[in-house]
């Protein structure tokens, strides 16, 4: 896969217009996946800020939720970009663990116990 910088350099140099490997499907997929991955990285820092700052415990749990949904999509995009699907195996575990975190925190705060 070609990186976005090479795509941009090829796009602004007009001598490559005649070649037909500029806008292949694979390069378009690579460019869009790169931009989406950088977007998800930037939003993860905002969620980290809310985890550190959050006034109550619920805001922190909420930010951990959002950060983990972010992490699942980030793993999927990385697996699509690097063509290694073993990276994406952790998504299922992360989404299940997130539900367990929500239920345990809310049950502990509401009933002051965790057990059955």
């Amino acid at each position: 896969m070609r990186t976005i910088k090479e795509n941009f350099l090829k796009l602004i140099s007009t001598k490559y217009i005649g070649e037909h490997d500029l806008l292949t499907l694979k390069s378009i997929v690579a460019a869009i996946v790169e931009v989406a991955t950088i977007t998800y990285l930037i939003t993860a820092t905002i969620y980290l800020f809310r985890i550190i700052k959050g006034p109550t415990i619920f805001d922190r749990i909420l930010a951990v939720d959002a950060l983990n949904y972010n992490l699942t999509v980030f793993m999927a995009l990385l697996a699509l970009y690097l063509e290694i699907p073993m990276i994406a195996l952790g998504m299922i575990v992360v989404s299940l663990w997130l539900y367990a975190l929500d239920i345990y925190v809310s049950k502990y705060i509401e009933f002051k116990e965790i057990g059955g």
């Binding site: 869009i32 989406a36 939003t43 930010a63 959002a66 699942t72 999509v73 290694i84 975190l101």
Partner: protein
């Protein structure tokens, strides 16, 4: 046909990135827990389930990842179904626990549900 399905998946990934930015701005700027949980649940469905479906479409139909693309598509579909089932349930439990905690609902102007609960407990 293959190009059309791949481009549809790419559009879903772009829309998901937009929803994720909207959710991040909401959790950064909105005031109060219940406004923030609105932003997070909107970005959980639009920003996590939608691009996972997009990744599944792209990886299942792209011609350069034929053997391992079906594997990635299966994982993405499973995670999408799990998120669609579990994210609203977890957010609902968290909101109920935050409402009953009395620390979060200080800034309410008018609270009708607590009157109803008091009436029901008698």
């Amino acid at each position: 046909m293959v190009d059309l399905i791949v481009i549809l998946g790419l559009i879903m990934i772009i829309v998901g990135a937009f929803f994720e930015v909207v959710g991040a701005l909401g959790i950064l700027r909105l005031k109060g827990f219940f406004s923030r949980i609105h932003a997070v649940t909107a970005s959980a469905i639009g920003g996590a389930a939608l691009p996972l479906l997009g990744v599944a479409l792209v990886s299942a139909s792209a011609p350069w990842m034929i053997p391992q693309g079906y594997y990635l598509a299966g994982i993405c579909l499973t995670a999408t179904i799990l998120i669609l089932l579990l994210a609203p349930a977890g957010a609902h439990a968290l909101a109920r626990s935050a409402y009953l905690h009395k620390g979060v609902r200080k800034e309410f102007v008018y609270d009708d549900l607590i009157e109803h609960l008091k009436k029901r407990r008698r």
